[in-house]
Symmetry: C2
Subunit: 430 residues, 2 copies
C-alpha cells in the first residue's frame, strides 16, 4: 500500500458533472492514493515503475450504491413481475435459502467473483436477515478486493417466516453481527440495513435508530420505488408525513455527524418522491441510488434524476441486482441516459435528458462521494482504476478518445472481457 | 445443403406468441430445412450424424428487420442527439464516406464480421446511396453466411450533397444496381430502400414505385419515428392523409403479390402512428420493425407494440444500428420488454407489458415471417440455429431451462462469447 507507481494510457475522469477530462499520459498512485494525472511524468515520480497500457482507456473503477448479493443467484430471471409480486415470487424465496451457510458460501463466492471481474470498485450491498450468511458475504467481499459496505437486513413483517425476525431478535442479531465483525476486515464494513419501511415495525425502526447512534453506522434502504408500496407505507406509518419522513423519524435519513466525519444514508430508487421528500433528501444530504435498470424491469417508473441533480441532491447509480438484471455499471449508465430521455419525452419536457458525461459522473464521483474522496484521479482521491482495452471493437477508422469511451460503455466492454486491469485503493485485483 | 444432421441439446423455440416450447432432445436438419424436434431420434433419422451440445441451449438464430450497415462504424457514439440532429451530426457525415470504395470494403467487412459472430441469422440492411458500396456490402454479407436483404438507399433531398442524387440519377443507379447483382448471390438479395419520406421527392417516389413493380421487390423504410419528422412529412406531402399513406400512394406500403409469392414491406419504428396508419399497417400486411433501443437513444418515444400485436399486425425487431447502439438482438429483446413497461406505466395502463415469451417470438418468428418460414424449428422451417453455452453464468443452484433462456438473453450471452455454434439455412457458420 505504500508502493508508488504510474499507469500510462488514455486517462479519462470527470472534471465536473458535465465534463470528462481526457489526458494521454500518466496517473500516479502512492499508498493507495492518487497523486495526480500528468501528460509527462514530473521529476519527483521519474523513478517510479510505469505500467504502460498503450492506447487503452484508463477510467475510475465504478461505484455501485445498491445491490442485493443473495439475489445474484437468479439474476436475469423472473423479470415479468411488479415490485410486490416480484418480492414474493422471486426475491424472498431465494433469500430464505441463506439460512443454509453452505449455500450462502457458494452463492456469495459467485457473487464476489462477479463483482471482482466487473467494473465495480466499491459497492453498498444488501445481504439477508441471516447474521452468519452476512458474515460469510463480508468474508467473500474482503477476498474479492472490491471495497464494500455490507448490511445484514432487518425485517420483522411482510415476508415469509424464514426471513423474518422479531424486532427484538432483529436488533439483537444486528448487535451480535456488529460485534462479530468489529476490526475483522480492511475492505468491508457494516452498514445498517432496514429493508424498507413496509418490512419494519415502529419498534424495529426505533431499535435500529438506537443502534445507529451507538455504532455510528451509515444506513441503506429503499424509498418511494413503487406507487403500491408508497400507499402501503401511508397505511403502516400514518404518523409519517411522507415515506422518507418515516425513516427520518428514527434518525435514519441523512448524515450522522461523528468524531471527525459523518456516516451517510443511501436511499435506493426515489422514483415517486414528492416535493416534500425531495426537499428533505436535499436538506439531509441523503444519497439517492438511482437504479434505472431495476425501475424498468419492475415497471416502477423513472426517477426524476435531472431534478435531483439540479437541486444539488447527491446521486449515484445502483445496479440493484436482481431487480436490475445485470451488475454492470456500464449498462446502468446507459439505462440512466435512456430512461431520462423517456422522462423528457413523456413526463416533463423541462427535464433535459442526461448526457453521457453526467451518467459517467454519477457512476464514479456521484456514488464515490459516499465512500469519501472516490471516483476521480484528482490528487488525494482513492486510486480506483479500470484499464479498458477496446481493440475488440473494430472500426474502419480511428475514433477520438471521448467517443471511444462512450462506445466502450454503450457496447458493454465491462462484460465482454474489455477490462484488462483493475485497481482498488491502489491494489491491483488483476 | 443436402446434408442431414441433428443437433442435440435443450431446444427452445416459440410455439406461439406467448409460449416457448423446450425439449431436451434433437433438432433435425435436412437440406437446410428443419425436419422437426424430437425427444428421441426417430427411426428414419437414426443414422444421421448428431452434434451433441450437451446441456447447451439451442434456439433459432434471430432476425434483425432493421439495421444500417454504414453506421456500424460509429456504433455506441453520438448518443446525445434527437433524430434530425443525429442525422446531420452523426449519420450523414459517416455515410458520405462510402463514396470511397476502399473505405466501404473495410467498413463492411467489419460489419459483416460482427453480424456473423452475433445472434443474427437474417437481416434487412440499409446501405448508403452509393451503388458500388452497396454491391460491396452484398459481397461481404454473402461471405458472412448471414442471410440478408440489402438496400441501396434512395434520397434526393434533405441531406449533404455527397449523399444526394437527383430523382432521375437515383432511379437509374437503382436499376443499374439491380441489373449488376442479378443472380450473383445466394444468401443476399436486393430490397428497395427509399430512406424516408422527408428524404424523397414525389418524383423519386414515383420512379421507385415503377421499379418495384418491374422488379418485384420488397421495400424497407422508416415510418413515424419522431414527432418533428412527422410534422415535416405533413408539409412535404400534403396530398398524403398520413405518413404511411405517403408510401402507399406510390405502391410501397405493403405486400405486392407476385408469381407464386409476395414481396413484403418493412417499416421501421412506427412510434407515433395514428389510428388511420395503424389500420393501414394491418390492412396492407406491413411488417413493423420495432427498434426500442434506437427509440430510446434518439428520445423518439415508445412504439405501442402491445396494440400492434393485439391488432394482428406483423411485428419483428430491429437493432437499428447505429441509432441503436448494439447489433445484439438479445439486447433488443430486453429493450422491447423494458420500454413496454414504461409505456404501460406512463402512457396506457390498458397496454400490458410485453412478456419474455413475446419478445422472443418477435425476435424469431415475428421478424422471421418476412423471410418466409423462418424463426422456429417446426418441420419445413429454414434451419437457423444458435447454440448457447451459459456455463459462464455461475449460480449456486441449477436453474430450469426456461429461466436459463431468459437469463442468457438478459445477460447478453450473445456478446460475451456464449454463442458456441451458429447455423443459417442449415449451413454452419462456426
Amino acid at each position: 500500500m505504500t508502493e508508488t507507481f504510474a499507469l500510462k494510457g488514455n486517462i479519462c475522469y470527470s472534471e465536473s458533472k458535465t465534463r470528462i477530462k481526457t489526458v494521454h499520459g500518466y496517473a500516479v498512485c502512492s499508498g493507495g492514493i492518487s497523486r495526480g494525472v500528468y501528460e509527462s511524468l514530473p521529476e519527483e515520480f521519474s523513478a517510479v515503475p510505469v505500467y504502460d497500457f498503450g492506447d487503452s482507456l484508463i477510467i475510475p473503477a465504478m461505484v455501485d450504491l445498491h445491490i442485493h448479493a443473495p439475489q445474484y443467484a437468479f439474476r436475469g430471471t423472473g423479470m415479468d413481475y411488479e415490485l410486490m409480486q416480484w418480492l414474493c415470487n422471486a426475491a424472498f424465496p431465494e433469500e430464505e435459502r441463506y439460512a443454509d451457510e453452505e449455500y450462502a458460501r457458494r452463492a456469495y463466492s459467485v457473487f464476489a467473483g462477479g463483482l471482482r471481474r466487473g467494473a465495480t470498485g466499491r459497492a453498498c450491498i444488501f445481504a439477508t436477515v441471516h447474521r452468519r450468511a452476512t458474515e460469510i458475504l463480508m468474508e467473500e467481499m474482503e477476498k474479492s478486493g472490491v471495497v464494500s459496505r455490507v448490511g445484514k437486513v432487518n425485517m420483522d413483517r411482510g415476508a415469509p417466516q424464514g426471513i423474518l425476525e422479531s424486532a427484538q431478535e432483529s436488533a439483537d442479531e444486528t448487535v451480535h453481527w456488529l460485534e462479530d465483525v468489529k476490526g475483522r476486515f480492511s475492505r468491508t464494513a457494516p452498514i445498517l440495513t432496514p429493508r424498507f419501511l413496509p418490512g419494519c415495525t415502529d419498534e424495529l425502526m426505533h431499535r435500529l435508530g438506537t443502534i445507529r447512534e451507538k455504532y455510528d453506522l451509515p444506513v441503506q434502504s429503499h424509498l418511494s420505488e413503487n406507487p403500491e408500496e408508497i400507499e402501503l407505507v401511508g397505511k403502516l406509518f400514518p404518523q409519517a408525513d411522507f415515506y422518507g419522513d418515516g425513516y427520518d423519524m428514527y434518525g435514519m435519513f441523512g448524515d450522522r455527524e461523528t468524531h471527525g466525519g459523518s456516516v451517510r444514508t443511501i436511499m435506493a430508487h426515489c422514483v415517486w418522491s414528492d416535493e416534500r421528500e425531495v426537499k428533505r433528501l436535499y436538506e439531509n444530504g441523503v444519497f439517492v441510488a438511482h437504479c434505472p435498470g431495476s425501475n424498468l424491469n419492475l415497471s416502477s417508473g423513472i426517477a426524476p434524476v435531472r431534478k435531483y441533480l439540479d437541486a444539488g441532491i447527491r446521486v449515484g447509480l445502483g445496479t440493484d441486482v436482481a431487480a436490475g438484471h445485470s451488475d454492470s455499471l456500464f449498462r446502468t449508465m446507459t439505462d440512466a441516459i435512456q430512461v431520462s430521455k423517456m422522462y423528457w419525452r413523456y413526463v416533463d419536457k423541462g427535464a433535459a435528458p442526461l448526457r453521457f458525461e453526467e451518467a459517467f459522473w454519477m457512476a464514479t464521483r456521484g456514488g464515490g462521494e459516499f465512500f469519501g474522496r472516490v471516483g476521480g484521479f484528482d490528487t488525494g482521491y482513492a486510486f480506483d482504476a479500470l484499464v479498458i482495452d477496446d481493440t475488440s471493437l473494430r472500426s474502419p477508422r480511428e475514433l477520438p478518445v471521448p467517443e471511444r469511451l462512450e462506445r466502450a460503455v454503450y457496447l458493454s466492454l465491462d462484460i465482454t472481457g474489455g477490462i484488462k486491469a483493475k485497481f482498488v485503493a491502489g491494489s491491483r485485483l488483476f
